[in-house]
Each structure stands twice: as C-alpha cells, then as structure tokens.
Symmetry: C2
Subunit: 410 residues, 2 copies
C-alpha cells in the first residue's frame, strides 16, 4: 500500500514538509513553530505560499488536481514537475534571471524556489507607471541564452531529443495554450468574453478574414511542429518579477520545445497591451523603446552565442560552412524567429482582449469609453498585423504600425 499519496497542503502541512528538508529549514532559520506561511496564489492554476523564517524565506508552489480559479476544470498534477524540469534546464544558462531551484517533491507536486519578496510583478509595476529600461534587455538576454542553449545549435542532438521527449509529455498545459491562445478566440466559444461593444465588429472582421485565419493556422502549426528550443511557454508580463535592477522570469510550467518566436511574441504582445493601456505619451514612447530594445538585444546576443559556437562544442554538429554564406543563413534563421514573434505577439494581444484570460492592464483606465477605445485600438492593431502578416516582417514595420494605430484612444 502506498502511504505517500498526493494531498493538498495547508499551512501546517507545509511546515511539516519543510521540517523534513534540512537544507531549506536551515535557510529559513529558527524553529518550525515560528515559520510563517502566507498564501499568495494569484495565478489561475496553482496554490502558492511564501514561508518566512528568522533568517530567510522560500516560495512554495503546489499543483492542484484542477484549475485553481475553476475547480470544475480538472487538470493533471504534473505541471510543477515540468516547471521543475524547466528550471533545472535553464538555470545553467541564465540562472541569475530566474529564481533559484531548491526542491521538488514528486509525490506532492510541490516545487520550492527562492522567494522574491522585494520584487514586483512586471505587469503591476508597469501599471504603476515605472520606467525600468533594463527589464526588456534582461528578458532578451534570458530568452537568447535559454533558447540558444537548449537548441541544436548548442547541444548534441541526443541531449535535445531527450529533453524534447520529456516536454512532449507536458500536454495538459500545451493544450491550454493551443485552445485559449490559438483556437477559441477565432470562433464562437463559451470561454470567450469581452465587455465593450466596439470590439465586436473587429472580432467579426477577424473571424471572417481568410488571410487572418490562415496566418493563425500557420502559427498554430508552427507552435506544435518547430521544436527549436525549450520555451518558457507563457512569457507575459505577469510571469516576470522585477526591481529596477534585478529581473526574474518565473512560472515555467507551460514549458515546451517550440518556436523561439513564441516566447519573444508573448513578451512583446504583453508590452503592446501595456502600450495601448497607458494614456501617457512618454510611457508609450518608453514602451516602443522597450520593444525595440528587446528585439535588438535578443538578436545580438543570439548571434554572439551562435558565432562563439563555431568553435563546435563536443558532440554538437560541426558547422559545415563559415563565412558569408553562413552569415546569410544565420540572418534567415533570425528573420524567421522575428516573423514568428510578430505573429505570436498578435495572437497573444487578441486572446487577452476577447479570449478566456484577460489581463489587468486596461483596468486602470477609469473612463469606460476611453477603456473601450484603447482595447479596440489594441485589437485592431493585432488584426492588422495578422491580416498583413506577409508585409509586417521587420521590427521597424511592427513599431511603425504600432505608432500609427496607437493614436487611437489617446
């Protein structure tokens, strides 16, 4: 008989668990009865707690057998397993830009990581009007290093195939992305919703545009069949915690092998949402600069890593060609990531406005008419980008369109 079965932990259960983990208990300091356990769950899926001792603090995340905000929506427990695997894979590559992995319990599906109590969720910080120009380059660094380092460009194919095999099993969360980001918004579905009537005609345009639907179908196929690198899989501004000087990517439970442009597009898409939700002209300009800086920095670092790699680490594929031809091929690879990025940014914007899971960015706009106009502006921009996906192929095209459309709602 198996006595060590899953159960949902309360504060007492959490204290018991940590009491059995000497390294983490030592990090907290003091004795069990003094540890404070505070629930801070605010994502849709899991229970999250901060445990504070005399000398330290840790963050504990437990999967539930259902969606946290909708217990009728059943879900396998293994999502913290995939987050733990993701953390272990990315820490050697960009550990300073995520949280320290401390422990994973494969029976309780509990992941314990470093706590970031001095940090703010980036979405909230942006809504409070911060201007942290270091964040976008840091996220670019994170994406460049983690995607390059888990790709065939950096590792023997055997390592990549083994990792792909692991993340191929993260199907429940991949299904959520597929449905909520790449399917439901494009048809009638009970999980879709939006408040403002001015969004409706744009929604109808999106759903009746063959070019737009084909662009989405292409993105959907690329999401599932271009396993270029290990992705975070949900890299929105709510998956990032930051101070002005220190930025961390959290919540890697959606991790999968996929097209690198998916991570880039999620981040840029959420910056665009912030752009449309910010009435302040200077803040909008700063956001345009963040987007430009993200892409420039990602591209630069990815290429630096690739060119360093021509020295061919043991077991990787020795590049056959160097020189100008190789440079052309590299640029084609980067350009393809950018085209994906632009497409995935657009679908992310759309699903945050008319799909199941919206974002808080627009909630700060008090005037309902202005809020509706800002949301409609964002939706129209994303529609334009998908409808003209073949022409919006450089970051300049993207920013130019964004600047033009951004006049709406101001």
């Amino acid at each position: 008989m198996n006595h060590t079965t899953y159960r949902t932990l309360d504060a007492a259960g959490i204290r018991d668990l940590i009491a059995g983990l000497p390294d983490i208990a030592a990090r907290l300091g003091g004795t069990v009865e003094h540890w404070q356990v505070r629930e801070v769950s605010d994502g849709n899926l899991n229970n999250v707690f901060i445990v504070t001792g005399h000398t330290g603090e840790v963050c504990l995340k437990q999967s539930l057998p259902h969606v946290r905000v909708d217990p009728a929506w059943k879900m396998p427990l293994d999502r913290t397993f995939f987050e733990a695997e993701w953390l272990r894979a990315v820490q050697p590559l960009a550990g300073a830009l995520t949280t320290e992995f401390l422990h994973f319990d494969p029976v309780l599906y509990v992941l314990i990581v470093e706590s970031l109590s001095g940090h703010t969720v980036l979405r909230s910080a942006l809504m409070q009007g911060v201007d942290w120009p270091g964040v976008a380059p840091r996220i670019a660094t994170f994406v460049a290093h983690t995607t390059f380092g888990t790709s065939l460009l950096a590792r023997p194919f055997e390592d990549v195939f083994t990792a792909r095999g692991i993340f191929c099993a993260n199907q429940a969360l991949t299904r959520i992305t597929l449905d909520l980001v790449l399917d439901h918004p494009y048809r009638d579905h009970p999980r879709n919703h939006w408040e403002e009537p001015e969004l409706t005609p744009i929604v109808l345009d999106i759903r009746s545009s063959a070019a737009t639907l084909m662009a989405v179908e292409n993105l959907r196929r690329r999401f599932l069949s271009q396993p270029q690198a290990l992705l975070h899989g949900d890299l929105h501004t709510g998956s990032i915690m930051s101070t002005p000087d220190d930025t961390r990517v959290i919540d890697g439970e959606f991790a999968l092998y996929g097209p690198i442009g998916f991570d880039c597009g999620m981040f840029i898409g959420n910056l665009v949402l912030h752009y449309f939700a910010t009435p302040d002209h200077a803040a909008r300009q700063a956001t345009l600069q963040d987007i430009a800086a993200f892409w420039a920095c990602f591209q630069e670092q990815f290429l630096i890593l690739w060119n360093m790699n021509e020295a061919a680490p043991a077991g990787t594929l020795r590049p056959l060609a160097y020189g100008p031809a190789a440079r052309v091929a590299q640029q084609a690879f980067i350009d393809e990531i950018l085209i994906d990025t632009i497409g995935f940014a657009a679908v992310e914007i759309i699903r945050r406005l008319i799909g199941y899971a919206h974002t808080a960015d627009f909630d700060a706009i008090a005037d309902p008419q202005q809020r509706g106009a800002c949301r409609a502006g964002a939706l129209a921009f994303a529609y334009h980008v998908l409808e003209h996906h073949a022409e919006v192929v450089t970051i300049g095209d993207f920013l130019l369109n964004l600047g033009e459309r951004g006049k709406t709602g101001l």
Copy 2:
C-alpha cells in the same frame, strides 16, 4: 536475480522461443523439430532468420549489441523495439504495404513478422532489369498514408507528441543517419571511401562549395527539427520487397519523427542511383517515369487525405480557413516537402557513392571505366542539385537536370 536477460539466438534458441508462442507455432504448423531455421541476414545491423514449418513461414529479426558487419562498432539493442513501434503505428494506415506484425520480445529484442519469401528486394529486382510500374505509386501511397496519418493534420497533438516522445529515444540510429548521410561525406572521415579517381575532383568541389555545404547544413537542421510525421527513416530500394503486383516496405528500425521529404528523398535518391547504373536507355526512361509517378501520386494522395480531413476528426485541430486561401497554404506545404525531397535525394546519392555504405546498383557494370563514368555522373548530378538547390524546386526541374546529366556514361 534476473534470469530473462538478452542472449543472441541460434537456430535452436529460435525454435525454443517460437515453441513458447502458440499463435506463431500454429501459423508454422507441424512440430518444433521439423521447423527449418535459415539465416538470411544481409543488412548491416541485425541477424535475420526465416523459420519454415509445414503450413507457414515467419521472419525473425534480432538486434545484436553491435553492428552485424562490424562487431567493434557497439550499438544499443533497442532498434528492434523501434521497428516494432513503427510497424504498430503504420499498420493501421498502410498495412497492406508492409509486413504483418506478429510478435516483439522486449528482452531478447526479437521482432517476428510475416515472411515474404515470394518477394524480391527492389534493388536486386531493378538490377535484374525488371520494369514494375506499380512499385513507385505503391511506395507513394505508403509514404502519403503513413506520414499524413501520423501528423498533426490527422491526429490530436497529444497523440503526435506522445509518439514523438517515443521516437526521440531512437538516438543510436538517428545518429547513424546524421553522421553517415549528413556529415561524414562532406569532410575527411575514415569511413568514407570510393574506388574511382574520377570521383575525387567532384568530391573536392562539393567540399569547397559554400552553397552546397550550406544546403547540406540546412537539410541536417531540418532532419532534426521538422518533426512533421513518423518517417520510415531509411526508405532505400533495399528496404522494399516486391513482386510485380505486391510491394512491401520493411526494416523500419530507423523510424523517427522528421520532415516528410526525407522519406521521399531517400526513395527518389535510390531510383536516381539505379538510373545512373542502368546502361539501357529504355530502363532509364522507365526510371524517370517512376520518379515522376512517385511524386505525382504522393502529392495527389496526401492532398486527398488532407481535404477529406477538413471534416475534422475528434480532437484534431479544426482548420480555421477553407477555400482558396487554404488551397494556397496546402500547396505551400507540399512544395516545401518537395524542396526537402530534392535535397535529401541528393545527399542520399552522395553518401552512397563516397560515404560508408554504398549500394550494389553499379556493381553490375563490368567495364571499370564505364562504371566510373556512371558513378561520376550520379555524383555530379547530386552536386549540381545541391549547388543549385534554390533553383531546382519542381519535379520537372529535377527530371530535366537528371535527363541532361544522364547522358554521361551511356
């Protein structure tokens, strides 16, 4: 203590094994002591036996812990496991075009399948001068049905990801393909060899052409990062057994998820080798027709399956767009398969002439000078195709070039 460990079977061991498998024993008929066991191993990797009873016959294949033709080259045993998994996956899709799966022993790594004693290996049949116009369309049918049916176009992504996860582990044989087909021939490597000095200048041209090396590098990356469908992985004319009316694909141990054009290219590449090895003009014309028929038939059947599929089986992704836009996207998908096909055909030709594993096609040419000229013609053709990969993009371009170059050696 584990008593059921692997051992290499001899005839007596094979009789004992089958005596314990009532269904297979019944198929053979008669009693154990009358069963004839005949070794027919002729591939590079495994032991293969035909077991004959009073009323039936089966074929038995056992993995060895090394390459059969080179015991110093160690190899994991699991390749018959992957062949068994491949057979189980493709039989519901194209069972009449492969051998019936009868049994797999996961300890002895023994696979037992239907025997095909009336069939001839296609390469040998072609060398004997047969003209079997039904073969190429049957192989096209096999590839269209097995690749479509194991792809995201036909199945929920969960099924596809699970299958990809299984075949991600077939790393020893994927490494062989990567090294022998897509790497070693393009540089100095002790496993490369060729007899005729007239091949040497072409080899040097290939290795110093940046365009060719970039084309190969691109194919290598696509081989490892476009898991469109479950491939046979080694679809040369030695992996096909046929009569005039019945054609079977065998030896799926190299199976992996990869670009569909890889299977198409292996088959076409081997037809091209036969083309250059056949001095007879009519036989050459028949081979050109086989290549054209293969591609036309593959394309037609793949699209028929795709268009039937618009009725959306449960769990697959519902296509978002129908009509003209969808037709354009379908054609783009097929065109991409063809570009891969042409590239992989070229690398297959090259490795069969200057790499580790040559083919017997040219051995029938008695005159050494003519044999050298034919091989050089084939090599120059493949080089031309890779060097001009961006321009040879239709099956017409490919056949036109082949017809032109084919004058060499006649």
